[in-house]
Every structure is written in structure tokens, then in C-alpha cells.
Symmetry: none
Subunit: 291 residues, 2 copies
DNA sequence: CAACAAGCGAAACATATGTTTCACAAGTTG
DNA sequence: CAACTTGTGAAACATATGTTTCGCTTGTTG
């Protein structure tokens, strides 16, 4: 970690060492690189409520020899961004032409994911989304299930849901019986399944069983060929295109986050209260780093 | 053309009226808006070979009441360009149009995630990415850890990794001892931690312990304020902006997928063989729906 | 050629800027 | 409690900045 190319990096690497006031100043610098590059120190001071001296000291604390040197780095930060339109396109082409190879993996993956998300946004039927949220909102109990690669995102969804609804359960967790969770499902309940190619047998069967028990089934999958679709009340097809051997879950995460967000908006109870409570308790247990 | 929004417009509309010397100055201003916004008048003078007085006069000649006013317009020019790379995603416009109209939650969330991914792509240092992949590739054992909201994505990463490397372990799984996993860490091993605000104490401590045992620590987090950064060999700051109460993991997923993809590219063994084997076995166990 | 106007840079000017000093407050140590 | 350390903002400081003045040059007009 000898090299630091951006102010943010420099700030990040020294942040822990800074005093309280310097941290406030550092936060401001990190969040307003354009203003740092552009306005005077005293303007920043006025805008941020931190004294000029503190900014001056911050520069030293970060290892710069003067405030001007820190500003120079900020200049570069906004300068790079300013390049992005025309010049960056040129650079990209040059880079691609250079050896066919070295267009960075990150670039490829990011581009693919952005396309997927844009496609998701474009293709998803809003009424169906509303319908799914209605079902989840009305359900007595909601059971979540995902296997193999989908385990992680479903767990993420369950985590988010716990902040707003106590009646959500993650099924098939740590080898626990999926059957047990399904057995309790009735007409007033909902099952939400995420499954991608190749489709887990258990995911398909879970949908089938839940549906035959009269429960509401919501399915998130990657293709119209998914065998669980016939058993779902509502299903979503999420683009998963990726340059890699595995398919990308980025768009799926977006969909999941959107569903949770819509649930929050729907629920009459203020979620921030429950969030506060949960976090308060975690804090009390010493689970969180004191910030 | 009563209104002129950009310096270029303003210059274009007055250019014919300008004297020779003022034209030179105007040319320079038009071609270097970033420098105008960023450097001092005298620096410009030195760089362009035009006297300070001329720039000052130019501002008046263009209808500004002072040089500072002209600079303000330049500021805005580079500020807009800084935004424009996310505009390439296109969705921003939809969001902007939303002067209060019913823009769907999906639209908002998708736009935010695309911005985050674009920012990640732009801000991430490629060398650092390579460095992280090198560490993971060279490690004898790799331990993954994530708590609370990060549990899911880390699990996802572990799942992907199992296709290409048998020496990756998910720590703290199902209540199993995190300490046990850390105890085995030595200088030849690596720990990869994902943690977001509020930071799990265990995540921070895990980094600290691993580092003091000489292990390589790779950290994925959301802010320079993360207390684990000082204990990491390599860290990544992932944008998590979101219109919701919770932060988005979409960009984090992209980063994780990219790291895995780079590992695949690095490994000499053909991953498809192992993938085929794993899937074959799962198929044999009847885990997959026959497709 | 003289008279004049226009444009320019050097330098003088008032002012804003970044830095440093200083005194004070809060916390720690002996 | 005293001595000391640390962190802070107000203010003093030297300096850099943008503007204006002034004299010079160049080109035009009568």
C-alpha cells in the first residue's frame, strides 16, 4: 500500500489516525472533491463549518506538504471524470486495440451488469411488481427459498426483510428441513423463490407444493424455460448476461432491493423505528463497532 | 440566443467582437475550462502566455461583471461533465423528469445502482484489483467473512469460488466459530472481509487478528471511515448510494463477480472442467431439475 | 506629419488566501 | 491538584490574486 492515487484513498488510509475535527474535514473533502479543486479554502470553511486552519492541518495530516498539494489531487479526481466522455472513449478504443486483451475485466463486468439492470428496468411490468408486493404485504407468513448460487441473495433479502416484517422466514437454512417450512404454508401465506440455471430441484418442487397448498408463489428466475414458472402466481425474468462462466446476480439484487423498498413504502408503520430498535439492540450486544 | 448556458456559448457569441489578443485568451479559456475553474488567473497567464490583465478584460468583454463570474461558469461546466458519465446510463433523465410524478421505485433503484456501478468502474484502481487477485491466487487458504447485511453476498462469493478453488472457506457460518477459522490463518493465507455501515465488530476484529498473524487481508467496504481499513493490505471502497433506508449491494456484487472472473482467468486449470464435474455430481444426486 | 484612438503589458493597488501563531479548553498523567 | 499533552478556533501574518492605472506601441484619420 505504498501508492495512493486518489484523495479518497489517501483519506481512507489515514482516517483512523485523524482527530474528530479532522475527520469532519476529511469527510467533507471526500464528498466534495469538485469544491475542493474549485473553491478557495475559506469558501470550503464557510460551507462546511470547519475552520480554515483545520483544513490546512488536514492536508499535513494526510501527508501533503501543503493544502495546495491536496487540492492538486482533487483537481486530478475531477479531471479524470471530466475526461470520461470523449477522451475516455478514445482511451478505451486505444486500450482495446492495444492487444485485444487488456480491456479490464472490471470494465466488461460493469458494462454487462449495467445493461442487465437497464434491461430489467425496461422489461419489468410495473403492475406485476405491484401485484407481487401486494401479495407479500398481505401474507400472514412469507417463506424465502434459494439454493446453490441463489442462497446468498435470498439470505440478503431475508436480512433486509427482518427490518420491516417479523413474519418472514428463510427456508432450508443450514440444512434445516425445507419440508417443515413448507408444511406450515397455507392459503394466507406466500413463498418467494429465487432460482437460476441450472434450476435446483428443491426450488421447483417447493413452488409446486406451495401452490398446491394454495399459497401465493412469487418466483424470480432467469429464463422463460424455468420449470417452476407454471407453479408461480407471479414470476419475474431477470437478465443475467455476463462475460463469465457464471451468470450475474447484480440485476437480481436490484429487483430484490426494489421489492423491499416498495414494501417499506407500503407499510403504514414507520420502518425507521424498527430499524432503530434492531440496531440499538445489536449495539447493546456489542455487535457493532462504535461509530 | 438570448441565454448562454456555457462559457463556450458565451465565447462563441462574442468572439467576432474580440480583439486579437482577447481571441487568444478566449481560445485558451474555451479549451481549458477545467484549468479556468481550478487554477488561478495568474497560473493561466503563465501557462498560456497571455497577460493577467487580458484575462481580466476578457471576462468583461464577454459580459461578466468579473473574472470570478466567468470562472463560476467554468466550474459548472466541469461539474456537469462529472455527472455525465452516469448520464450515459440514460436512466438519469427519467429520474430528473420525475419532478414529482409517479416514477416507479424500480426506476429509482435501477438508476441509483447503475450510477454506483459506473462509479465503481471509474474509481477502482486496476492495479489494486490485480494485487488483490494475486493475493487470493497465491494464498494457501482463503477465508471469507461477512456479517449482518453482508452475509449474503459473501456466501454468494464462496459459492462461486468453490467452482474454481477448493481452498476457500466461509467463516462464521451457521454460528460456527469465527475464531476457529482465524486461528488457522498464517502468513500464507488470506482473509477477505465484506462489511458495511454499521460495521460489525467481528468483521473489524477479524481483520485486525488476521493481520497481526501475518495473513493477507482484503477488505471490501463502503466508506473511508471503516475502522478495518488500517488492518487491510488491500481495500476497496464500493459505492452504495440508494434512495432507500438500506444501502445497495449491487455494485458490491459486481466487484465480487469481477474478482472471481479475474481468478478464473488467472488459474491455469480450465475451470469449466471442474464446473462440469460439480454439476455432474449434483445432477447425479438429483439436485438439479433435469433440463 | 500631427492628432487621435485602441490595445496591450508592467507595475501598483487593494483584497483575499493559506499558514502560523497564540491562547484557551478538555483530557490525561504524575 | 498540578503539570503536561492534545486539539481547536480566532487572529495575525506573509503572500498570492484579480483589478486598475499608466505609459508605450501600433494603426488610423484629417
Amino acid at each position: 500500500m505504498a501508492e495512493h492515487d486518489t484523495i479518497r484513498d489517501k483519506i481512507a488510509s489515514q482516517y483512523a489516525e485523524l482527530s474528530d475535527r479532522l475527520k469532519v474535514a476529511a469527510d467533507y473533502v471526500a464528498e466534495h472533491p469538485l469544491d475542493v479543486a474549485t473553491r478557495s479554502l475559506r469558501s470550503l470553511s464557510a460551507a462546511s463549518g470547519v475552520s480554515p486552519a483545520t483544513f490546512s492541518r488536514l492536508a499535513r495530516a494526510l501527508g501533503f506538504s501543503s493544502y495546495e498539494e491536496m487540492r492538486e489531487l482533487s483537481r486530478r479526481a475531477v479531471g479524470n471524470r471530466a475526461l470520461s466522455f470523449s477522451e475516455r472513449a478514445g482511451l478505451l478504443r486505444a486500450e482495446a486495440r492495444a492487444g485485444g486483451g487488456p480491456v479490464s475485466m472490471l470494465e466488461r463486468q460493469a458494462a454487462a451488469c449495467i445493461r442487465n439492470i437497464a434491461e430489467l428496468e425496461h422489461n419489468t411490468d410495473r403492475r406485476r411488481l405491484t401485484q407481487a408486493v401486494d401479495l407479500l404485504h398481505a401474507a400472514r407468513n412469507v417463506v424465502l427459498f434459494g439454493a446453490f448460487s441463489s442462497t446468498g441473495v435470498v439470505e440478503y433479502m431475508a436480512y433486509l426483510a427482518n427490518y420491516i416484517a417479523p413474519n418472514w422466514t428463510l427456508a432450508g437454512r443450514m440444512g434445516a428441513s425445507l419440508g417443515a417450512a413448507l408444511a406450515d404454508l397455507g392459503a394466507e401465506d406466500a413463498l418467494l423463490v429465487v432460482t437460476k440455471t441450472p434450476y435446483a430441484r428443491r426450488a421447483v418442487v417447493a413452488c409446486e407444493m406451495a401452490r398446491s397448498d394454495g399459497a401465493q408463489v412469487i418466483l424470480i428466475t432467469d429464463s422463460h424455460a424455468c420449470p417452476a414458472i407454471p407453479h408461480a402466481n407471479v414470476h419475474f425474468l431477470v437478465p443475467t448476461e455476463s462475460p463469465q462462466f457464471f451468470s450475474s446476480y447484480a440485476a437480481t439484487v436490484v429487483l430484490i432491493e426494489t421489492i423491499i423498498a416498495m414494501l417499506v413504502a407500503r407499510s403504514e408503520a414507520d420502518p425507521s423505528e424498527r430499524i432503530r430498535q434492531v440496531e440499538q439492540r445489536n449495539r447493546g450486544l456489542g455487535e457493532f463497532w462504535p461509530g
